[in-house]
């Protein structure tokens, strides 16, 4: 598949915002929520979700008709996502408003924190199922897709929360969640590595033989029927070389997991603010590359029909 920038931005930014909301909700439930930084961090999460929402609109040919996407919630995971996303934004925005008005003397509403966690998990599930439900894109059609959207979102959310906390002058909260950020990043690396291992061993179910029904040991395409390309040759081929794919695969694991783990360990030991910011920057770049790779690695069976120009 050809990775679309709008979807890469939407899924990574929204995923990090969801993770940060979960981090703040868990901190609220545990009674260690940042006193002064809670409201600004919730506003930041709301802003990130809105930015993600705007990015998603750039994927649409007719953005003004987007309201129609809520109609098919009975069958379409995209429709379900479109319902859950604004509801989650409203929930987080409402919590941010409440935290701003209540100031620091108010009791943290545990039910709201619980709902925020449920909302974040629901949204991850809907987003991931958009890809996991397409049974013939074998790289995606597996529960690990849902697991990875969740763990990657959690990791980036905890790292974002820690980095924002040190910037907002709450180093105490940052050091409280540093072990969590470290664990979440390690867990995300583990689950993502599982799917990388699975995808490396996949055997495509569709072949040129099944695609054409021609029963012969050797069936090769000699012409795809056009010379100037089509939607089919643009939308489903990423165009990167095998070397480029290997670089992306190694690169995103270094940037999103390996480096942040080292930097978070540094932050955990020294309380360094710089370490948090470097971890955030590295992981953000790494997760954008990860999402690019997620799309590029998916081999669509329609590509069998578009192998040779003439």
């Amino acid at each position: 598949m050809k990775p679309a920038l709008s979807i890469i931005l939407f899924t990574t930014i929204a995923g990090a915002a969801q993770g940060m909301v979960v981090a703040l909700a868990l901190a609220t439930l545990a009674g260690i929520a940042p006193a002064t930084a809670l409201a600004p961090m919730l506003w930041a999460a709301t802003g990130m979700l809105l930015v993600a929402l705007v990015a998603s609109f750039f994927h649409l040919g007719h953005p003004l008709r987007a309201w129609r996407t809520v109609l098919m919630w009975r069958t379409s995971w995209m429709s379900r996502e479109v319902i859950v996303l604004p509801a989650f934004i409203a929930l987080v925005g409402g919590w941010a408003l409440l935290a701003t008005l209540a100031q620091r003397d108010a009791v943290a509403p545990h039910w709201l924190a619980g709902m925020a966690i449920v909302g974040a998990v629901l949204l991850w599930y809907c987003t991931a199922m958009i890809y996991a439900c397409i049974r013939f894109i074998q790289e995606w059609a597996h529960p690990l897709t849902v697991v990875n959207y969740t763990t990657l979102g959690l990791a980036s959310g905890f790292v974002t929360a820690g980095a924002l906390a040190v910037m907002a002058g709450e180093p105490g909260f940052a050091s409280d969640i540093a072990p969590w950020a470290l664990a979440a990043t390690a867990l995300a690396w583990f689950t993502r590595a599982l799917s990388l291992r699975r995808n490396a061993r996949l055997k495509p179910k569709s072949t040129t033989q099944t695609a054409t029904g021609i029963q012969a040991a050797r069936v090769v395409q000699k012409s795809m029927g056009m010379t100037g390309g089509s939607f089919n040759t643009r939308e489903f081929f990423h165009g990167a070389s095998a070397h480029g794919m290997r670089m992306a695969r190694t690169g995103f694991q270094v940037l999103a997991f390996a480096l942040p783990i080292l930097l978070l360990a540094w932050a955990l030991l020294s309380g360094s603010a710089l370490a948090w910011l470097l971890a955030l920057g590295s992981q953000a770049a790494g997760l954008l590359a990860e999402r690019w790779f997620f799309f590029a690695q998916a081999r669509h069976p329609q590509n069998i029909y578009y192998q040779a120009v003439s």
């Binding site: 995209m78 529960p143 569709s206 040129t208 054409t212 029904g213 056009m226 100037g228 489903f236």
Partner: protein, 255 residues
């Protein structure tokens, strides 16, 4: 992942479809141009062309003819392979559509896109294993074969013309059109009698369109005379089972 609660595909009483005879398709692309002409001018159009006179012309088509090569020398075969929407009985592209713009007609099984409801998210094209849908870059909506729905029911046309444009255009009669649920229809008989098959059966989409396999035709003309030797021929000694020269039957045999 396979959704365990996916409802069983509903079986329609009528399912219009194409049956494509790979045995006689000569790869002339007449169906491609005829499809483009009809659909760019009608309810489904216009089908955008971009860079039409440039180096890499590209545009929206509902139908393509591809060419495959099977086996190896000396048994190599060239197979021309027309490809359009297969109007699956369980179309994976339809339930994923978030707006309901993609739908399958209950009355005749044609899978259509309502261009006024399509938001151009392209998700349906991802959910089609055959690459049957093409996004129109100018109109920003997803488009696909309509089975010439604006033609096959048009009572202003003579009955013999109420067929998809591609079917009417095919000079070799490689494209049959009809109801695959009617056991007596031309298409059902062709599928039954000539080993009609579906594409990518592994995904259980139950395509309505079928393909008739290419059959290797062996010559019925007698092979070159066995054990033929010029000397025997000149001496008037017939090869086994062959006529003597000048007996009057040689001309027919040698053809």
């Amino acid at each position: 992942m396979n959704n365990p609660v996916q409802p069983a595909p509903e079986t329609l009483a009528k399912q219009l479809a194409l049956v494509i005879d790979l045995n006689v398709c000569v790869g002339c692309h007449a169906c491609v141009t005829s499809c483009k002409e009809w659909n760019t001018s009608g309810a489904a159009g216009p089908l955008t062309d971009l860079n039409a006179y440039g180096e890499r012309p590209t545009g929206t088509f509902f139908n393509r003819v591809q060419t495959f090569e099977a086996d190896s020398y000396p048994d190599t075969q060239t197979i021309h392979f027309p490809k359009s929407c297969l109007h699956c009985e369980d179309p994976p592209c339809v339930p994923v559509c978030p707006t309901g713009a993609s739908y399958k007609r209950k009355s005749d099984g044609i899978v259509l896109v309502d261009y006024d409801k399509c938001i151009g998210c392209k998700y349906c094209s991802w959910a089609c294993p055959y690459g049957a849908r093409e996004f129109d870059e100018e109109r920003k909506v997803m488009t696909k074969c309509t089975l010439c729905v604006d033609r096959i029911y048009d009572e202003l046309l003579p009955p013999q013309d109420r067929k998809p444009a591609c079917v009417k255009a095919c000079p070799t009669g490689a494209r049959l059109f009809g109801d695959v649920k009617d056991p007596d229809s031309e298409v059902s008989q062709a599928i039954r009698e000539r080993g009609g098959y579906q594409l990518m059966p592994e995904w259980e989409t139950q395509p309505a369109n079928h393909y008739l396999p290419r059959q290797i035709t062996l010559s019925t003309v007698p092979q070159a005379q066995p054990n033929f030797r010029l000397g025997d021929f000149l001496n008037g000694e017939p090869a086994s089972g062959k006529h003597k020269p000048g007996s009057g039957a040689m001309e027919k045999d040698a053809r």
